[in-house]
């Protein structure tokens, strides 16, 4: 997009969720944002508004951000009802002012889900995702010198599929978009990206059972196969991975029924 074409500045009204702290009541407050360059990012626009608030001695709007280039998963705004705003496959930080009309009222809300409590304004606590990861989102591997390249052969299709799943930046937009606040797309991506690769086989069943269990315990809802999650995902992770997660979970539950348990589980080499 040429900058010439988008050089006309625009003004919008922001309608922002303000909440002083966890468990405090919150409300929407309107702020004018004038003379914005269309090529400004949405977060830069918030920076400008916050500067003005600070100068006026008011509390700036708290919002989460880090890389601002769509790779870290920290930014987390629901803009006009859509997590990460109007564009497909784009995080909040990569959303630009040119996507909004002059004079528009833009509603900004935090991600809403019981397991993602609001910390302040638009910032939510998404450490529930870390707990799911800790339950099984890893492999056990020998540390030390790197293994020979290509020592383990992996088909191109599997490598590509695993990479599709590994795109997940853990932002939580899937949960925010889902009417049930389900974390299935996130869990599906994490379970699949390890489960498709040979390195992930040793802990495959244990992983899927533990991660789904933790997801349920943390209070995320169930999947109703409406695919709002994949539509909101800034990395466009496919809901095909949810189908794969379901299949993996069913198979692992079934296998766990007939699995022989070792006589003793303590001791050994670690």
């Amino acid at each position: 997009m040429s900058s010439e074409k988008n050089s006309k500045s625009i003004s919008v009204t922001l309608r922002v969720w303000r909440q002083a702290g966890p468990n405090k009541p919150g409300q929407f407050v309107e702020y004018p944002a004038h003379n914005l360059s269309p090529n400004m990012s949405f977060l830069e626009m918030l920076d400008v508004v916050n500067d003005e608030l600070t100068v006026k001695g008011q509390e700036p709007i708290a919002f989460a951000h880090d890389c601002r280039e769509g790779i870290c998963g920290t930014c987390s705004l629901v803009i006009n009802g859509e997590p990460h705003g109007p564009h497909e496959g784009v995080a909040s930080c990569q959303t630009y002012i040119r996507s909004f009309a002059d004079g528009e009222v833009v509603t900004i809300e935090p991600f809403r889900a019981a397991p993602f409590p609001v910390i302040k304004d638009l910032v939510t606590d998404r450490s529930a995702f870390d707990k799911i990861q800790q339950a099984g989102g890893f492999i056990t591997a020998r540390a030390g010198s790197a293994p020979d390249a290509n020592a383990t052969s992996i088909s191109k299709v599997d490598a590509d599929l695993a990479m599709d799943a590994a795109q997940c930046i853990g932002c939580g937009a899937c949960v925010a978009a889902c009417k049930n606040a389900s974390a299935m797309l996130f869990v599906a991506a994490k379970v699949s990206h390890l489960g498709i690769l040979p390195q992930g086989q040793a802990e495959r069943d244990k992983r899927v059972l533990a991660m789904v269990n933790t997801m349920d315990d943390l209070g995320f809802g169930g999947c109703t196969n409406q695919y709002e999650c994949s539509a909101a995902c800034p990395k466009l992770i496919s809901h095909d991975f949810i189908s794969r997660l379901n299949g993996d979970y069913i198979a692992a539950s079934f296998r766990s029924m007939f699995k022989q348990a070792p006589a003793q589980t303590d001791g050994g080499a670690g």
Partner: protein
């Protein structure tokens, strides 16, 4: 957790229960429709068929109990999941509520499901128990005498001359009341809508759907739901438009 715990306590397990019971219920509603469409043939057909089902005795009861258990589990899982899903959203909901790509049928699964449940209760009261519209209930109608044998897979199961319930007249008299016919059409319409999402969703739940054949699945399910709706529309539709009439013998003796 033991495997039964996985099935009944996890979100995925409960969805699996819904999918499997959904498959049984789909099998039933299709079989039920195919059986009912015999109403368009000579009266021997549907009346012989109804008599045949009753001669099954214990087998009929096994089928009835299986269906009741499946319906019960399906509704239990739907209700428990719905309550949990609402709770997961949290105390404060979005101010701007939007849908990005969820289909219409998927958004109304709870509505279509519970209205179908209400309909099924009325339907059983009308045609199975006779507690509503009892004047036209099969046990209160003159019996029908079979003109010829009724065959199932080439075996004669109901013989000519047998006195059987006049199910055909019961159905036609029942649907002659427009309000009953319209409620039926409305309910099967909602059931078709329920299945438009449900019959695709179950493949996803069982881990069998992916985008390599997801479009084909959607097309097949859409056509099947349309055919199912039209097939069900045909019976009350034909009664209301006068294409399906009482057989002269029973018409003269109707109460």
């Amino acid at each position: 957790m033991n495997p039964l715990g996985h099935l009944f306590c996890s979100t995925i397990g409960r969805k699996v229960i819904m999918a499997v019971t959904g498959i049984v219920l789909i099998g039933f509603v299709i079989g039920h429709l195919v059986g009912n469409l015999q109403v368009f043939e000579e009266p021997d057909r549907i009346n012989g068929y109804a008599q045949f089902l009753h001669t099954l005795g214990p087998v009929l009861w096994v089928m009835r109990i299986t269906l009741l258990v499946c319906a019960g589990l399906h509704i239990w899982a739907a209700t428990v999941l719905t309550i949990e899903d609402r709770k997961a959203r949290g105390a404060v909901d979005y101010r701007t509520k939007t849908w990005i790509q969820a289909t219409l049928s998927s958004r109304y699964m709870r509505w279509t499901g519970y209205v179908v449940l209400a309909f099924v209760i009325y339907h059983l009261a009308q045609f199975t128990l006779g507690s509503v519209q009892s004047a036209s209930y099969k046990e209160n109608l003159p019996e029908y005498t079979m003109n010829a044998d009724y065959h199932v897979m080439g075996i004669p199961v109901v013989h000519a001359g047998t006195h059987v319930h006049d199910v055909r007249s019961m159905v036609i008299l029942g649907f002659s009341q427009p309000i009953v016919a319209f409620f039926y059409i409305f309910a099967v319409g909602l059931l078709s809508l329920h299945l438009l999402h449900g019959a695709q969703s179950l493949f996803q739940t069982l881990g069998l759907r992916n985008s390599s054949w997801g479009k084909a699945l959607r097309a097949i399910v859409t056509l099947a739901c349309l055919a199912y709706f039209l097939g069900n529309l045909a019976i009350p539709g034909a009664v209301l438009t006068g294409h399906l009439k009482l057989n002269p013998a029973s018409a003269s003796s109707t109460p």
